[in-house]
Symmetry: none
Subunit: 90 residues, 4 copies
DNA sequence: CATGAAAAAGAAGCGC
DNA sequence: GCGCTTCTTTTTCATG
């Protein structure tokens, strides 16, 4: 038994330092995310400067994302069927 | 002048290629963003696995973000004050 | 059972009347919201007419909102801590 | 001339108090706006609880708003035309 | 699954 | 009047 009562199974100081580490790692990642969002904005700004309609390009990006997802799902479905009839697709 | 409306001030073929380029650049950036989001999730998963409460860590991250935002806004306010005084608005 | 899909579990006529009621109630509320937005604009206009810098006042309002939010989040964090300790997470 | 140099045409203390008053009035209005937004959410929650699709009702509200606006604009246009031919619509 | 928070899209207001 | 920024609203995503 330690002198000081522990809260749970992590001792206070060690916990504090670990929490700090987790928080900082998350903050770093979120900062990177913001940077990328900024980059995306800049791409759109560039597109706009080149005479394109940003709204339309955004729609294109979204449409392609949906199509990619659809293809992914179709592939998954196909694989499920193939597995059901014990067919190797590859 | 052709009957068909042009997209921006670009001719059709050049436009197509430029649009494609913009779309692909955005898609690349968005993919990176998703990767980072995934990384963040993994950090939280690790924290949880180490015995920490994810909710608490998220709250800490958020509170620190608010503090940062507050500092940012305070600075902006000071600058606005300075500008207002210059303009004799007080 | 009719061919036509029902909206929710309500029969057609009753539904129509209920939907109308919901829509109208929302419209009334949104109208009130617009009125208040208008009032806010007028307050800013008055401030401007009295020789104040609107931008500064807006920044003050925002900063105070952030401060309120911060206090709110601090409280929420404390509650999360308390819950986490109960759950032996530290 | 007062003893203390004034910044602009508003003396410091009077300014401070006036600004405070403006800020508080705005805050009060914004608080009321939030209340109404909350009421709207509750109406939608009630609609949902009654078995309706919230998204659809929102679409209806928006459509009606557009139609109202359209009618308003048509009326304005009509009045402009009437004025142009010096015709009294009323 | 349903709730609540975060991101993205869209609308509005502002200054130039 | 137009473009730019700010604010609202919608949609999405994660957690319980």
């Amino acid at each position: 038994m330690t002198k000081k009562a522990e809260i749970g199974h992590n001792s206070d100081t060690a916990s504090a330092s670990k929490i700090k580490s987790f928080v900082e790692r998350v903050e770093k990642m979120e900062s990177e995310k913001r940077d990328i969002s900024q980059d995306i904005k800049e791409i759109y700004a560039e597109a706009k400067g080149t005479g394109f309609d940003v709204k339309t390009i955004k729609k294109l990006v979204k449409l392609r994302a949906i199509e990619t997802e659809k293809r992914r799902e179709e592939q998954a479905l196909l694989e499920t069927y193939a597995a059901a009839i014990q067919m190797d697709l590859f």
